[in-house]
């Protein structure tokens, strides 16, 4: 998968959030999907993934190949819209804050896990207890954030409780998978890891380690059986081979195509994704401490050409922030700096140093076409008078530059640092605290006005007020030209002509939302 995809792919709930309200609608819908199933009961599709999943315990991993499979087996309480990422009901029908640390969630009744075990408040309490238990050592500590536990109110009502006031509990719940308490307790973690059970639309068929995994439709799925009866995940690490397999019809969906390969796919699927490649400018010392120099760097870069030529049209020029409309806190009013090399030169002259020498740390291979983008930026800056000392580091060394990890806050920051950030929480807070706060793990900013706003947004629980403060913070960072926001990448897939699917912002691969002609 293109660089970061494997690592950053996230969990977020089921695509077509079917919130069946009235009884009549429910009956109609069930009948409709039952007849669809009868017609295409034998429909089988194949999906190429890059590597063998780490395991299939839906609470253990943050590995994209594992998520691709178990997202179809297990479900969270809340899901998100494929394109807008807005929250939608799934195993929960509604939720509201009782106080700033407590979210009261009403559960869908009558749902069962595929082994017959009922899904209820006890299952929610158990799932959260298991996930947050430090002994369980999940890779998903990101997902639950500040959530500590859940308390049963009655069979279909739970209170989800966080350690501190937290406005993003619902977003976290869209990442946390529900697991069957009895089954997990009786069978044990290692058995569950290879024989997962959930409330989802598919159940595990077989798993040939290192080769393939098959899923079968869950005939008892509470949302009606899905239209595709069988799914085979085939492990194909080479993007070229995935492309060839698409051409021969061996697979219906290729998940690892590069932007260069995409035009060759029989059908191309694209959607705006979370990744925002950007350059962190060091305000704390060096030439970029001067705002005019930061502005010059921003005017020097032609984002449209980078999107078209480096990303082959699979990216859009970024707004003046590392978020899209899918993230709460996104500021729709921020226009990015236009390409204007003459103005960049003027600004450099005004700064008193028309040829500043700057260090630029990048890496290669972690994100889609990253090295080419880094070199393009270097070229644009040199064209207006910068002297850029560019260095592409091995990823481990790059990480030490990006995240001194609090061990050494005084470590000198490079003048320019390449990175790509993708919001996976649905709220701007996490990235604001990482890149824009005084002690942010990857922060090079030095702006007391910004710091105040970032501290304030974290402490504001009221959704409307919080969003407003986050928007102010992003506006301030844009006006101060703290970063060079480059583009917003799209999530891209190659598909067979028979497959119809709306790909998702969160990169979930939900077969339930797919249709395939047989």
């Amino acid at each position: 998968m293109g660089g970061g995809r494997v690592f950053r792919l996230r969990v977020c709930g089921i695509g077509v959030g079917v919130a069946l309200a009235a009884g009549a609608t429910a009956t109609l819908a069930t009948h409709a999907s039952a007849s669809v199933e009868a017609r295409s009961a034998s429909t089988t599709i194949s999906i190429a993934i890059g590597s063998d999943p780490s395991g299939l315990d839906p609470q253990a991993y943050e590995d994209g190949n594992a998520l691709a499979v178990y997202d179809n087996i297990a479900e969270p309480l809340i899901t998100t819209d494929a394109v807008t990422n807005h929250l939608k009901p799934l195993l929960a029908t509604s939720w509201k804050y009782v106080n700033s640390k407590t979210l009261r969630v009403t559960l869908r009744s009558g749902v069962r896990f595929s082994n017959g075990e009922p899904f209820n408040a006890d299952a929610v309490v158990f799932s959260l207890k298991r996930l947050t238990n430090p002994k369980f050592a999940t890779q998903q500590s990101d997902f639950f954030g500040t959530i500590t536990h859940a308390k049963k109110i009655n069979a279909t009502t739970v209170d989800v409780i966080s350690s501190v006031a937290d406005a993003t509990i619902p977003q976290s719940l869209s990442l946390i998978m529900m697991v069957p308490p009895k089954y997990v307790t009786q069978k044990g973690a290692s058995y569950f890891n290879t024989h997962p059970v959930g409330t989802g639309p598919y159940v595990l068929g077989s798993w040939t380690r290192g080769a393939s995994i098959t899923l079968k439709a869950n005939s008892r799925y509470w949302g009606g059986a899905p239209s595709i009866a069988n799914v085979k995940f085939v492990i194909m690490p080479e993007a070229n081979v995935q492309l060839n397999a698409l051409k021969t019809g061996e697979v219906d969906l290729a998940t690892a195509l590069s932007p260069q390969q995409l035009p060759q796919a029989p059908k191309q699927l694209k959607v705006a994704g979370p990744e925002h490649p950007m350059i962190i400018l060091n305000q704390r010392s060096g030439p970029f401490a001067n705002r005019n120099v930061r502005l010059a760097a921003n005017y020097a870069v032609d984002r449209k050409t980078i999107a078209a030529k480096i990303y082959f049209g699979t990216a859009k020029p970024a707004m003046c922030e590392p978020f899209g409309l899918q993230t709460l806190g996104y500021n729709p009013k921020l226009k990015n700096y236009p390409y204007n090399p003459a103005k960049a030169k003027q600004l450099l002259a005004k700064s008193g140093n028309p040829h500043p020498t700057v260090t630029f740390i990048g890496e290669s291979g972690r994100w889609t076409n990253d090295l080419a983008a880094e070199q393009a930026v270097q070229g644009y800056l040199e064209a207006v008078g910068f002297k850029v000392k560019f260095q592409s580091l091995a990823f481990a060394s790059f990480l030490k530059q990006l995240l001194p990890n609090g061990n050494n806050p005084k470590m000198a920051r490079p003048d320019m640092l390449w990175t790509s950030t993708g919001d996976t929480t649905g709220d701007a807070d996490q990235k604001l605290q990482t890149f824009y706060a005084p002690k942010g793990a990857a922060a090079s900013v030095n702006d007391p006005v910004l710091f105040k706003l970032v501290a304030k947004e974290a402490a504001t629980i009221d959704r409307g007020k919080r969003t407003a403060v986050q928007q102010q913070a992003l506006a301030r960072a844009c006006q101060q030209a703290d970063f060079i926001y480059l583009v917003n990448n799209q999530n891209i897939y190659g598909a067979s002509t028979r497959l119809t699917w709306q790909p998702r912002y969160d990169e979930q691969i939900l077969v339930k939302a797919m249709k395939a002609a047989s």
Binding site: S54, D142, M236, E238, N244, T248, E250
Partner: protein, 307 residues
């Protein structure tokens, strides 16, 4: 004699395996704490510290090494971070695919190289000989992943005779085996050709066989090949060792073949240190065993060799 030889070779082999495994361990752990690489970028320092502690990365190096040796001696290489199973079990689960690929490729290489090599030797200097030599050179020099891609484009995408990738059916095994066989086939063909040619032209016993009126075909296929067989087996064993020692990595990745080479790449990409070390241990063990077996075979095939 044979038992003394075996005892010495096995003792040496154990030394080799232990050294290779130890070097692999030292190299991967010299990277420092892998916690940063294994956790998501957004992990907090507290999360990194907790994770390091759970995994034992925060202990001093000598203590970790002692612990590793103690467990490794009992066949325990730790739990794979990536697959959450004992690393040894993960590696063993990939052995059938590895053996099928290498065994199949060596079978193809042995059989075809004997036929092609003998034909070439018989027609030495002729057009057929030149063609066979040219093809064998192509087989030796073409990068395996490139040949694999060419085979896919031709026989999977264009003719659609075989699947592009996958594992589990006879058909799916053909292209990976052919791609793997190309290198040993090319080299063995050359070995067979020159060994047979050498026997045929320079040896007194062949001349005497001819004088006795034994047919040229019988001389070639029975006497010359038999005497050349020690060299062929040795080279074959060496080729097989090369395949095991990493040649199949790119082929396995291209075809999505679940063998040891593919596993090694996955283990490295996942920063799965126990799995990397276990993989090195297994590959070096199989290599050492293979060398011993080849030496024994040579004795059986050529009575002139004394251990």
């Amino acid at each position: 004699m044979v038992s003394r030889f075996l005892a010495r070779r096995i003792a040496l082999g154990v030394g080799v395996i232990a050294t290779a495994t130890l070097i692999a361990w030292l190299l991967v752990y010299a990277l420092g704490s892998p916690a940063n690489l294994m956790l998501p970028i957004s992990a907090t320092p507290a999360q990194v510290a907790r994770f390091s502690h759970q995994m034992g990365f925060d202990k001093p190096m000598p203590e970790r090494l002692g612990h590793f040796i103690e467990r490794a001696v009992h066949g325990d290489f730790g739990t794979s971070y990536w697959q959450s199973e004992p690393a040894v079990r993960v590696v063993v689960s990939r052995l059938p695919a590895e053996l099928l690929l290498i065994g199949g490729a060596m079978l193809v290489a042995y059989v075809l190289s004997l036929v092609l090599g003998v034909i070439a030797a018989r027609r030495a200097g002729g057009a057929l000989d030149r063609l066979i030599v040219a093809v064998s050179i192509v087989g030796v020099s073409m990068p395996a992943f490139w040949l694999a891609e060419l085979l896919i484009v031709a026989f999977a995408v264009h003719f659609r005779w075989f699947p592009v990738g996958g594992y589990g059916s006879f058909k799916a095994a053909i292209l990976p085996i052919l791609a793997t066989a190309a290198l040993p086939l090319g080299r063995l063909t050359q070995i067979v050709r020159s060994a047979v040619l050498d026997e045929q032209t320079n040896r007194v016993h062949i001349t005497s066989l001819r004088a006795r009126g034994v047919s040229e075909r019988r001389i070639l296929f029975v006497h010359a090949v038999r005497n050349a067989s020690a060299a062929i087996v040795t080279m074959g064993g060496w080729e097989m060792g090369r395949l095991l020692a990493g040649f199949t990595v790119t082929i396995e990745v291209v075809f999505g073949w679940p063998g040891l080479g593919h596993l090694a790449i996955d283990a490295i990409q996942q920063r799965d240190l126990p799995l990397i070390v276990a993989d090195v241990f297994f590959v070096s063990t199989v290599l050492v065993a293979l060398n011993i077996v080849v030496d024994l075979f040579r004795v059986l095939l050529d009575r002139r060799i004394v251990l």
